[in-house]
């Protein structure tokens, strides 16, 4: 038995039957991390000492048959923009290189309450701004499938760590596709839940009307289980965490999907989409049909405008959210400042990387007098039109399906694409964030040069249950679990 290959559910049952001890699980995974993460570079911080201590305590409870919690003894990795008490939380930025939060994010508290064990904090694009994990101040993460490729981003460290078998599950965050796109590139399962499903308390804010925390796992069932455990109303995030949620995603997951109606927007397979991706998604369509689902083509006419709308809205919100980094109360403080004004400007000028500065400047410009109506309000109007498109489709269909990304993972040696072309890669993931609906990415293919391809399933608000049901059924006819076990990751 290779511990690193076990899913959350398998670990749960093996720990409960006392076949393995939490300390054995943690030990085996740290061995693996030490062996391979020098190549992959998924972790910014490892919390080995604390993890071993917690595991020893859980060993004792296991011995006494006091195994409380749905994640008892199961290790987790957390994206480094989710605050963890007394543990370095950097947002992959020089700005927070030395920041140790004084409290836990609500999602972290929930995982600890279930007795999950924190293994460390995972790399990402700086402040979650990017889609390759290259804007990290600390390191560039590699894709475990193909070390010459990006794992995607911004939750690239989380996706790589799950695919590499360093942790059975991780949490990422998704503002415009940052859970789903790296999940797609790394051949795993990643959920962007309904806006308001999961508390954002303790998530270092990027764009507050779009951000959601979501689980990244190797199987659909694991994903549903983790989302059940992190969901729910939170008085610390009162205005935007939904009340009275039904969070049972697992009980009906194995139901057949005969007659389920799936919509495939023709714009999701447009000219910008790579042939390998189109082929994999059309194959997935056939697989769904073989499971008894009905797949029909629909139109989403405003898709071509979502990138503009997203960048204007997200950057505007970011420019306000990132105003809190002043060099005074925490984080990077310039040594070259003589006045208070200089302290702000130099700390921010030196502490933020280029992509973060760009987005703050863009957002400040868009919100400034004279431009607000031209850009920001128009972007919000477009957001309404996209929402209407999605709602119209979901009146007649159960789910929307399509590729997660326009291409498989890009190679690091490719000429870097710049400007809006680079941003256009996010076109297919952005609608779910603008509209607030849940979207899950699952593997649906692999290219000849070992780059996974993902498909997303988009449902209506709070209909994660339906998404997981369809995804689980799809997984019974196509999954990459076996392939994940064979990744060599540059060692041996």
């Amino acid at each position: 038995m290779n511990i690193n290959e076990l899913t959350v559910e398998e670990l749960y049952s093996k720990i409960h039957s006392k076949e393995i001890k939490p300390s054995e699980v943690v030990g085996a995974l740290f061995d693996r991390i030490e062996k391979y993460d020098g190549n992959i570079k998924s972790f910014i911080t490892l919390t080995k000492e604390q993890a071993l201590e917690t595991a020893a305590e859980l060993d004792r409870l296991q011995n006494e048959d006091k195994m409380d919690g749905e994640l008892f003894g199961i290790p987790v990795g957390i994206k480094d923009n989710i605050v963890t008490k007394d543990i370095l939380t950097t947002c992959a930025s020089l700005m927070l290189h030395n920041f140790k939060p004084v409290y836990d994010a609500t999602v972290m508290t929930k995982l600890k309450d279930q007795n999950s064990i924190l293994m460390g904090k995972l790399n990402m694009d700086e402040f979650a701004m990017g889609s390759t994990s290259e804007t990290s101040y600390f390191q560039t993460t590699k894709n475990p499938w193909n070390l010459e490729c990006s794992p995607g981003g911004s939750s690239g460290g989380s996706a790589a760590a799950v695919a590499a078998g360093f942790v059975p599950y991780a949490l990422g965050t998704d503002t415009g596709g940052s859970v789903r796109q790296p999940a797609s590139f790394c051949g795993i399962v990643g959920m962007k839940p309904t806006y308001g499903r999961v508390s954002r308390f303790g998530l270092i804010a990027f764009a507050s009307s779009l951000d959601q925390v979501g689980p990244m796992t190797r199987t659909v069932r694991d994903n549903a289980k983790v989302l059940e455990l992190i969901s729910g109303e939170d008085s610390s995030n009162d205005m935007t965490s939904a009340r009275n949620q039904n969070t049972d995603f697992l009980s009906g997951i194995e139901k057949d999907i005969k007659g389920m109606k799936l919509a495939l927007p023709k714009e999701f397979l447009g000219d910008d989409v790579d042939a390998s991706v189109t082929e994999a998604v059309l194959k997935a369509k056939e697989r769904f049909e073989s499971l008894g689902a009905i797949v029909e083509e629909v139109e989403m006419p405003n898709l071509q405008y979502v990138v503009s709308s997203y960048y204007l809205i997200a950057s505007s919100e970011a420019s306000a959210n990132l105003a809190r980094f002043d060099g005074i109360r925490y984080g990077y403080r310039s040594e070259n400042a003589k006045t208070l004004e200089e302290l702000y400007k130099k700390s921010r000028g030196e502490g933020f990387g280029d992509e973060v500065k760009r987005r703050i400047l863009l957002g400040t410009y868009v919100l400034s007098a004279g431009h607000y109506d031209d850009y920001y309000v128009k972007a919000q109007k477009l957001r309404r039109l996209v929402s209407d498109d999605v709602q119209r489709i979901l009146t007649d269909y159960d789910l929307i399906i399509g590729p997660t990304t326009t291409t498989p993972a890009h190679r690091y040696d490719e000429v870097k694409i710049e400007g809006t072309k680079e941003y256009k890669n996010d076109i297919l993931t952005i609608p779910a964030n603008l509209v607030g609906v849940p979207s899950l990415s699952i593997p649906c293919g692999v290219t000849e040069d070992n780059r996974p391809i993902g498909m997303q399933l988009i449902g209506n608000h709070f209909e994660e249950r339906k998404i997981y049901n369809a995804a689980y059924q799809f997984e019974t006819v196509y999954n990459l679990h076996e392939e994940l076990k064979n990744l060599t990751m540059g060692a041996e």
Binding site: N98, F99, K100, V102, Y103, Y195, G196, S209, L210, S235, D238, M239, T240, R243, Y305, V307, S308, S309, Y311, L312, I328, R329, Y330, R333, K338, T339, E342, Y344, K345, R348, G349, F352, D354, K357, R358, I360, L361, L362, T364, Y365, S368, D374, Y375, V377, K378, A379, Q380, K381, L382, R383, R384, L385, S387, E418, G419, T420, L434, V435, G436, H461
Partner: protein, 100 residues
């Protein structure tokens, strides 16, 4: 819409309290900003009159004042904790350069 030149981006940087170290950095930051702004001009192709701007991802039920959480006192962050993340403190307060 007006031309977005380097001078304007410099002005936006002032408003954002971000020091740009030299003209090279300014040019580097400008290129992408300009391309996004130019790209978003296409929103002008659409007739958006009469469309209600969408400010939130969805309407949640607690968007009325009477459904806020109860006004109960909790444990706040202590002064010691609040000051823990900087070495620049004095007499239990954050220390900044002289202002007046």
């Amino acid at each position: 819409m007006e031309e977005l030149d380097l001078k304007k981006i410099q002005r936006v940087a002032e408003l954002s309290k971000i020091e740009i170290k030299d003209e090279e950095e300014l040019r580097n930051l400008s290129t992408k900003i300009k391309s996004i702004v130019a790209h978003s001009e296409r929103l002008n192709d659409l007739d958006l009159s009469g469309v209600e701007p969408m400010t939130h991802a969805m309407q949640l039920q607690q968007e009325t004042a009477d459904s806020l959480r109860k006004d109960e006192a909790g444990e706040p962050v202590t002064q010691e904790e609040a000051l823990r993340n900087t070495e620049f403190t004095e007499d239990g307060q954050f220390k900044v350069p002289r202002m007046i």
